[in-house]
């Protein structure tokens, strides 16, 4: 049950007591929003999961302590019996349903934890020292299989984490990121999220896929990371806009938008510093692997925004005036400019790929680029402030103010050593915030007067 529903059920009692609604109306409203027990008991799952992890660790330590005394076949028997028993119990409890469903979910999770513990324990028994990321891969696939078949959000989250760890171990420890890793994560988790209509799985899938792709990019060439992150954020924002308009995927709209904007603003903010621009936005030297790694998010972003514009065009003919917020337009434009600079233009100026600096500028001129990003960041910050004030949304207004202050104050401090100048910065910032506060209150009064 969501927080709003809980609040409503609590308020209904008061409304009925004050005579705002009749007792029959209150009962009908309560029945509509009552917790029917079909949702996951997350409290039980979280505590049971922690308990499962500790139990699993206890099993490992038990084996480690009684190493010589336990015959290896006894150790294997305990592992298999535990694994099968946990899943068997999970199936039985889930079939009972009701309050037992949560316990069944926890037992399945314990079973999957035992599966992972079993992999490491068998490696210990037989002194296996092979490619250890494979252990995370199989463990993650085992969790993913159960996430699909049960179906289960908890198993899906576990699978996302394990497959992400697998991919990162390959990338970081063995410098061998598999393209397959990103594909497995995307193909395994995205449809699962849609099937379960779970925001948590959407978030886990986006984070796992993005982090894996970034690990791949970082392994291939470190100056690919920020451009790839920018493309992923653009794709996520575009996908969020599309999902918002489709009832089949509307549950995913908020996670896609929030994560996309967070990443996008981070990249733009980072690139407002010349040192970052100098290191992270150099021309990319392409190899077949790098082309795939770079072009995948570019194509995702291009696809998402193409559909966004096509849909908006169709929507505008049906309901005129419903335009795309202006600040969203900056996203594909910025992404396109970075692609052109880092990937396209160097093809026509080959020597740029060997230089650390932008080919259009000389060394030391990266301040032009970082200044441009600072202006874009400022634009978004001011847009949040304005939009928050117009819509009387304190959260968006506050976000805009924080972003603007986060940009301006450090810049001021790096530009000016003088205490007087710094004092001026604080005075101006304070005056700006006061002005925003007045603006917000004025808009609120206007809206209340109209209402």
């Amino acid at each position: 049950m969501s927080g709003r529903e809980k609040w409503l059920l609590g308020e209904l009692e008061r409304w009925a007591a004050e005579g705002m609604v009749t007792p029959e109306q209150a009962e009908r409203l309560k029945a509509r929003y009552r917790d029917d027990g079909r949702g996951i008991n997350w409290t039980l799952v979280v505590f049971a999961s922690l308990g499962a992890i500790l139990l699993g660790l206890g099993v490992i330590l038990l084996f480690a302590h009684n190493w010589d005394k336990m015959h290896k076949f006894l150790k294997l028997a305990v592992i298999f019996a535990g694994l099968v028993g946990a899943h068997w119990g999970g199936v039985a409890l889930k079939r009972k349903g009701g309050r037992f469903a949560g316990a069944g979910e926890a037992l399945h999770l314990f079973g999957t934890m035992l599966f992972g513990a079993g992999i490491w324990l068998i490696a210990q028994i037989y002194h296996i020292e092979e490619h250890y990321p494979n252990a995370f891969m199989f463990w993650g696939l085992g969790a993913l299989a159960l996430a699909w078949t049960l179906p289960s959000i908890a198993q899906g989250l576990l699978a996302a984490g394990l497959l992400f760890v697998w991919h990162c171990c390959e990338a970081a420890d063995f410098r061998d990121p598999h393209a397959l890793g990103c594909v497995v994560i995307a193909a395994g988790l995205a449809p699962l999220a849609c099937m379960l209509r779970s925001r948590l799985v959407v978030i886990a899938a986006i984070l796992a896929f993005s982090a894996s792709l970034l690990a791949t990019a970082g392994t291939m060439q470190d100056n690919m990371v920020l451009p790839v992150l920018l493309m992923l954020s653009a794709a996520s924002i575009g996908a969020g806009l599309l999902a918002d308009r489709d009832v089949r995927f509307d549950f995913a709209a908020k996670p896609l938008s929030l994560l996309g904007w967070a990443a996008y603003l981070f990249v733009v903010y980072a690139c407002s510093y010349g040192e970052v621009v100098n290191d992270a936005l150099r021309a990319i030297t392409f190899t077949p692997g790098r082309i795939v790694c770079f072009m995948a998010p570019v194509l995702l972003a291009a696809l998402a925004w193409t559909f966004v514009f096509l849909r908006r065009r169709t929507a505008q003919t049906e309901t005129p005036g419903e335009a795309l917020p202006r600040q969203h337009l900056a996203v594909p434009i910025v992404a396109m400019l970075v692609v052109i600079h880092s990937a396209v233009l160097p093809l026509f100026v080959p020597e740029a790929s060997h230089h650390r600096h932008f080919f259009l500028f000389r060394q030391g001129d990266e301040s032009f680029i970082s200044g441009g990003f600072a202006l874009i960041f400022m634009f978004h910050s001011l847009y949040f402030v304005a939009a928050g004030c117009r819509r009387i949304h304190a959260g968006i207004t506050s976000l805009g103010c924080i972003l603007l202050m986060g940009l301006v104050i450090p810049k001021f401090f790096t530009m000016f050593d003088d205490l007087l100048a710094r004092a001026l910065a604080f005075l101006l910032a304070g005056a700006f915030l006061v002005a925003v506060g007045f603006w917000y209150c004025r808009e609120k009064r206007k809206k209340e007067a109209v209402a």
Binding site: D68, Q124, Y126, I128, L146, D173
Partner: protein
């Protein structure tokens, strides 16, 4: 339908664990069992709890260890490598050579090149899946103390290993080598000039007075078994071989013996009772220990500028065939026993 799907998902988990265990059990039951001698332990490696990190002579290879192959063959990380062995005394399998193709010989291990962060492209590390040995809590310290330390005698572990027909190995257990080896720097090589600083450890007291740049070392061989064994010490130190232990940017190889090794006689055989030691002093400035890089002139190892270049002295007696007519022939220890790695001027011992 859903229950069947859940059953299949659980079966997948059970199947993965079953396959892991069954594959190893099959190798233990039907694979060929040999003993593989571990390489000298570097005390700088941390002993991780109840988990012994093992290295072997064939863990670090260079292109010289291959009959055919070029640097281009190693450009792919994770390249399969086959290490070929020959069975020797006491069931120990001695490394012969490495190959990129699956060999037809009876005993071989399959490994993969691992990512090398520090070495040059002329050397690389290979993992065979037998580099970790799990022991019960408390037994690790015992192993650590017996393996030896920087200044004392090092006794290699001999890992009992079952090897499948495809080259996959499974550790079964361990035993200790019957012979241990220790290295001591008697005198460090002289500095190039009085202005050259001493490389650590800074100890000017045991520097050679004759101006030679290479160190003098003492190799000690100790019988660590319960039965007598014999050493064969050929004249001109021909029972010892110098091998590069690490490779930096240049690939050094021994310049080669000045004359063919003499045939062993009873005079060269020495019986060691259990616990007895035999020490041999070696002057690394002798021509026997010179090295050369590619086709360049042979040089003393103490004159090399490479900070990271180290060498090992390996005790390698004549073969069983060569010793069969000796009075102590049946007791001769055969095999290859490498000592600790050291710099040519004695500045560092690993």
């Amino acid at each position: 339908m859903r229950r069947l799907a859940v059953f299949l998902a659980v079966l997948f988990q059970v199947g993965v664990l079953s396959y892991m265990a069954a594959e190893r059990e099959w190798i233990l039951a039907f694979g060929r069992t040999v003993f593989l001698r571990t390489a000298p332990v570097d005390p700088m490696d941390p002993f991780r709890g109840e988990f012994v990190r093992l290295r072997y002579e064939f863990s670090d290879l260079s292109l010289r260890d291959f009959k055919v192959g070029t640097k281009a063959d190693l450009d792919r990380k994770g390249t399969p490598i086959y290490a070929v062995f020959q069975a020797e005394q006491d069931g120990v399998a001695a490394f012969q050579y490495a190959s990129f193709d699956r060999p037809g010989e009876e005993i071989f291990l399959r490994g993969r090149t691992t990512h090398s962060w520090w070495g040059s492209r002329s050397d690389f590390t290979v993992g065979y899946g037998i580099e970790a040995y799990f022991v019960q809590q408390g037994k690790g310290r015992e192993l650590e103390s017996q393996l030896g330390n920087r200044t004392g005698i090092q006794v290699p572990l001999e890992m009992e290993t079952s090897i499948s027909g495809s080259g996959t190995a499974v550790l079964r257990g361990h035993r200790w080598s019957r012979l241990g080896i220790g290295l001591e720097i008697l005198e460090r090589g002289a500095r190039k000039s009085d202005n050259e600083p001493f490389r650590p450890p800074n100890n000017p007291d045991n520097v050679r007075k004759d101006g030679k740049r290479s160190c003098r070392v003492r190799l000690t061989l100790k019988n660590t078994s319960d039965a007598p064994l014999a050493l064969v010490l050929l004249p001109d130190n021909a029972s010892f071989v110098l091998k590069p232990a690490s490779h930096d940017s240049r690939d050094y190889s021994p310049a080669g013996p000045l004359s063919p090794d003499p045939a062993p006689t009873d005079e060269h055989a020495l019986l060691l009772e259990p616990g007895m030691e035999k020490s041999v002093d070696l002057d690394m400035s002798d021509a026997r220990w010179h090295v050369r890089e590619a086709d360049k002139a042979a040089v003393e190892i103490g004159t090399l500028d490479n900070w990271n270049q180290t060498f090992r002295l390996v005790y390698r007696p004549p073969t069983a065939q060569q010793c069969k007519n000796l009075r102590l022939g049946s007791k001769v220890w055969h095999g290859s026993l490498p000592g600790r790695a050291f710099q040519g001027d004695g500045g560092r011992v690993d």
